[in-house]
Structures are given as structure tokens and as C-alpha cells.
Point group: C2
Chain length 372, copies 2
């Protein structure tokens, strides 16, 4: 148990239990009743009722008239997340497109906007201005649906510091771009690495194992490490740079200055040129990850997903050979289920996840002008 550094007051108890109830509903396949929530959380029915009342009043839950249950006794009222409560604005900027989407609390993509254009030619401020326009359209669409955006998150193909400063995004040609200063949406904005956010997108859609590695193969190679349902960002937010893990110490020179980086053997071009070489290199690097972190599941996304069948066996062979515990428990390899939208979806999920994880803060917000 890691006792965090802050005191707990009674209101924290309520905040915690509100989150507990909301997440129980969210993670439930069916529509649980108050009594079912009480049974599965250990809270009293009375307490659950009180909490649910708050969540309904705050437009996070709805009671469904048609009760999906049978048996003897008073029928239960099914509870579910509201599709017309708060929503998340997911944004992505990448080499050849801009994208925005609105996801409601239930996780459904309600609106999706994409602009194809080469972003490498533009100064960051212009690219972000264009993205701001897209975001405004998304926001108008959300307003029309009665969805109040709780925040926005932006996926960037680069290293992002904790405050949203993009230190370097090589394929965009960006360096030290202060995104929050250039992209003011009037919403709380989170900026994160695209592989990180794509990993979170996979987490939410999969629903299965909460601990896995997501590897995205584009021009560069990035990875998102999800441990116990949470993204591991590292000390400075620069985790997951698997593209620069050394595979062949004296191998091909990399643009980063080192030799034999994975990126040179399993980047987009390399995969196209020689899938077997790419698979072997990936297998070597992934074995290192599994030996270090004891992950049971690896998800291949981005450009790897469509090539999955061509890569699988080659990767598997290396994993079986090089992972110390491969004999005790095999490593599962899967293709990502989300397509190219993964990062944008993950970004939106981060926003709605923040509401689902801490509904009390959302309910307590100084209610902003509804649908300006």
C-alpha cells in the first residue's frame, strides 16, 4: 500500500466512492442496478443510492426504463453512462493529416473530422491554428448534441514534457514548441506522445489485460507501456522509445547518432524492404522488453497492424528463444484493433477517463456556460 502524501478528509471518501460507482457501471457489460453495484463494490445499498443520485443529477448516469432482468421481486432500474453528458475532444497532428473527434462518456465516437495536408511544410503555429479550426468544428458538433466537452487531448509524434511542451518531433520538424500557448481552445488541454495515447486507446477498447506493450510502427517506432491499466510515462514522460533500442550494436547508423537502432531494421521502409529482417529485429527488441518488464501481451499497431501476419512468426520465434520465462508462460502477440485513429481515440479516452476516474471534480466544477 502506497500512502500518498495528501490527507484524506470525508469529502475524499465521497469522491472515491463516486468514482467507484461510476467505474463499476462503466466496466459492467450489462446495466447494473443499485443493488448489483452495492453487491459488487461492498458499499451499502443506501450509500450507492445516494451516490447514484448525485451521478444522475450531474448527468453522468441515466436510469433506463426498460429493465433488462428477470425473476421474482421488484424489477431493478438499470443504470448506464449517459451519452449526452460530458465528452472528450481527441486531437491528433501527424505528418500528413490533422484529426479531431468527439467521444461521449460511453466511449462512442460521435463526430470525426480529418484534414489531409502535409504538416511538415508549415510552421508549428500555423499547423496548430488549422488544428484549432478543426477543434472548433468538433466543438460545435458536440454542442449540437448536447455534449459538454470536459477537455481536450492532443497526440503528437514526438517527445512531450509534462507541461505540454513538445521538445522534439522529428518527423514534423518541430523543436521546443509550446503547444498549450499556441492552441487555446478554452478547454483543459493535455498533450502526449501518439504511441502513449494509442496504447491507452487499445486499453479501453480491449478491456482485457491491463498490462501490455503497444508498439506502433510508423516512420519512427514508438511504444506505449501500460502497467495495471495505467500508462507508464517515465520520469520525464519520455518512456517507450523502443525505436532506439540497440538491436545490432555495430549495425546500420541511425539518425539519432547511434548504430543498430531498431528503427533502422523495423521502421516503415525496412518492413517494406525485408519483413523477415524486421520481424527478427522486433523480436530481439521485444524480448528485451519482456525480460525487463515481464509483460504477457504485446500489441502491434500503426503500420505493423496490416503487416501483422507477415511479422508474427518471425517475432514469435525470437520471443520463444530469448525470453527467459517463455517456457513458463508464453507471450501473446496481437494486432491492434483500432486503426489509424488509435491515437486520436486514445486522446479522447484520456479526457473521458479523467471524468470517469474523478467524477467528483467534474460535478464540482464551477459550471461553465453551457453550450456557448
Amino acid at each position: 500500500m502506497n500512502a500518498s502524501r495528501s490527507p484524506v478528509r470525508q469529502s475524499s471518501v465521497r469522491a472515491h466512492n463516486l468514482a467507484l460507482v461510476l467505474q463499476t457501471v462503466a466496466n459492467s457489460a450489462d446495466r447494473p442496478s443499485r443493488a448489483a453495484i452495492s453487491a459488487s463494490t461492498g458499499l451499502t445499498r443506501a450509500t450507492v443510492s445516494a451516490l447514484v443520485d448525485d451521478l444522475i443529477a450531474g448527468r453522468l448516469l441515466t436510469e433506463l426504463d426498460p429493465t433488462p432482468r428477470t425473476g421474482a421481486g421488484r424489477p431493478a432500474a438499470g443504470l448506464a453512462l449517459t451519452p449526452d453528458g460530458p465528452g472528450g475532444l481527441g486531437l491528433e497532428i501527424n505528418v500528413d493529416y490533422l484529426a479531431a473527434c468527439v467521444v461521449d462518456l460511453t466511449g462512442v465516437v460521435r463526430h470525426r473530422f480529418v484534414t489531409r495536408a502535409d504538416q511538415r511544410l508549415l510552421p508549428p503555429a500555423e499547423a496548430l491554428a488549422a488544428l484549432g479550426g478543426l477543434a472548433a468544428r468538433a466543438r460545435a458538433a458536440a454542442d449540437a448534441d448536447g455534449i459538454e466537452l470536459a477537455g481536450a487531448a492532443l497526440a503528437v509524434p514526438g517527445l512531450v514534457a509534462a507541461d505540454g511542451l513538445v521538445r522534439v518531433a522529428p518527423n514534423l520538424g518541430w523543436q521546443d514548441v509550446d503547444v498549450p500557448a499556441l492552441l487555446n481552445l478554452g478547454l483543459p488541454l493535455t498533450v502526449d506522445n501518439e504511441a502513449n495515447l494509442a496504447a491507452l486507446g487499445e486499453l479501453r477498447t480491449d478491456g482485457g489485460t491491463p498490462t501490455f506493450l503497444y508498439v506502433s510502427g510508423e516512420i519512427g517506432i514508438g511504444a506505449g507501456i501500460v502497467l495495471d491499466g495505467e500508462l507508464y510515462r517515465g520520469g520525464r514522460g519520455w518512456s517507450g522509445e523502443i525505436g532506439h533500442v540497440t538491436v545490432y550494436p555495430d549495425g546500420r547508423p541511425c539518425r539519432c547518432g547511434a548504430n543498430g537502432c531498431l528503427e533502422q531494421y523495423a521502421g516503415q521502409e525496412a518492413v517494406a524492404a525485408d519483413p523477415d529482417l524486421a520481424a527478427a529485429a522486433l523480436g530481439i527488441a521485444l524480448s528485451a522488453v519482456v525480460n525487463l518488464l515481464d509483460l504477457g501481451v504485446i500489441v502491434l499497431g500503426g503500420g505493423y497492424a496490416p503487416e501483422f501476419d507477415r511479422l508474427r512468426d518471425g517475432i514469435d520465434a525470437e520471443l520463444r528463444r530469448r525470453v527467459l520465462t517463455a517456457g513458463l508462460a508464453p507471450v501473446a502477440l496481437r494486432a491492434a484493433t483500432l486503426g489509424p485513429d488509435a491515437a486520436m481515440r486514445g486522446a479522447a479516452d484520456v479526457v473521458i477517463g479523467s471524468v470517469r476516474d474523478d467524477p467528483a471534480s467534474w460535478l464540482a466544477r464551477s459550471r461553465p456556460a453551457q453550450a456557448v
Copy 2:
């Protein structure tokens, strides 16, 4: 915020705040007063007083008569951890010795017992029986000091499953040894990998950065990954197997069946034979770790500690070359401060850490026979 799966009742609030107060005292360089604790935690003085009363009654804190303070106003009563409260029993079994120690709540090693003998010749049951004898001596010594052992933890050089089952300890010749069944001390027993526990030992003594990698070079090479002050054990508890990270894909064959594992280039023999080669190989593997996990500190322990000066530059060179973010923030390399006792110390620290992190459970224990 990760809302965990359990409900929070009022008693949890108290449990949390008890831990908060106790840890505030533990992490304080001086002897804080109730008022100082109140200021640094945000709890009311009245609340702190009530909590401190409980902790004193439960023999976790003591009030120090000589108050180390000056100024105007009523003098404060200094608070400190009691040296005669609960203690931890740290155990270690390794290739050529058995060891046990008693550490009190303040972190001081009160007693230490070591038996040198080759454990590879013995069946596991016999080795554990001998360890049990050592543990009994340690317990008697603790009793004589008025220390009530809160539990025991055992460091083993091998893969340990969550329930204490040692799946394989190659250098002991163990396979599937059910340690808790063979070593009944009448105390809660934790079994963990030696590198993991040594890492925790370093964490407690260092007190500095809570995120680092501890690498221990013995016959095999193990690593403990400490993230935000907590050991990362991986999905099945088998994290940190850095010894089998591939360094040279087509290199020397390893006893694990793969080729080019770090262990073949930086194990005990390899370091002795060619320190430069070992340093380069370590540097390559450590670069992979840093690229993946964004760690800022690496601690070299075990057999590496005495060789630190010979290894440092070679490792550093590879890190500078191969870590993508080396230019943005350098990686700090350090030798471990704890000697060969690190794992045993870490084991004892785990026990006293469990009391410090959750004093409420300790206070609520069905008081066992004192000093049987």
C-alpha cells in the same frame, strides 16, 4: 487518479491518515512536533494529536523529552519512531551463505547472523531448515530487545511467483520449491527475488530519487526496477531479468538457450576477464532500459559495486551514444551504498515498510502472544 476497486469507509480515512502521520515522522530528518506534522500534512493539529496518541499507544512513535527546538512559545514535544516497537526479520539464501537480520522500525540493523556454507549441495528442505534455525536465533535476539517481529521476508536468487513459490533458482539448483510450506516461522513470510529486494534496500537508504534501476552483477545478473518508490514486479513477478537481454544477437551461447545475452558479457567471470567488454555490453543493455523506461538513475550493486570505477566510463559512453534523450537529460550512474547485505536489508525493510505504510492493520492485529 486511479480509483482502486475497493470502497472507502471512515475507518479507511483513519488508516490512511495514520500512515500519513507515521511516514511524515519517518521521512523527517529532525523530530517533528505535532504542529509541524499538522503543517506539512495539512491535517488539523487536533487530528494529528489524536492520530499521534494512537501511534504512541501502539508503540510506533515515542515522545522525546529533550525537545530539539528553540524560539518563543510553548516548547514542542519531538516525535520519532520507536526503536522498541515492531521489527522486521530479513532473510537471505544464496549460493554460499545463509543470512538473517533484525531491523527495527527506525531502520537500524539490530542483529545480524550469517552462516557460510555451500547451499548448492543441499536439498531445498535442508537449506530452509538451516535458515529456520538462523531465523529462530534472530527472533530470540529480537525478543530480548523487546522487539516484536511484524513479519519476515526472504531474498532468493531466482524467479519467484506471487505466492512465494520459487519457480527456478538456477544457481541454487532449485526448481518449484514451495518456500512458505517448508519454512514456517509463525510469521507472515514474503519471498522475493534478491535483486528486487536489494533495490528496495537501496531505495530506503538512498532516500533520494524514487525512480531508478538497480542492477546486481553476481554469477547471473538481475535488476530491480523501482518506479515512484515502488518496486515494479511485472505481471507474474518476473521483471528485471536484464541478464538475458540480448546484446549481440549472434553472440556467445547462453545457458538459457539464446545467444548473446548480457550475462555472457557482463557476468562475474566476464567482468573479471575483460572489464571493458563488460562495460560496453552493460551500456548497451542499460541504454535499452533507459530508452524504454526513461529512468534517470542507475545503481550498480552486487559484484559491480567494487568494480564501479573500472566500469563507469565504458557504460557512460554507451549511454551517451545510445540513449535518445541523453542530450536532454543525462543518466546518473552510481555504485550501490549497501554492501553484500543489500538484499537481506531490503527484505527486512519490506517488513517494516509494511508497518509504516499501513500502521492501522498493525495496531488492529489480534495481539499475538508477546515474545513466545
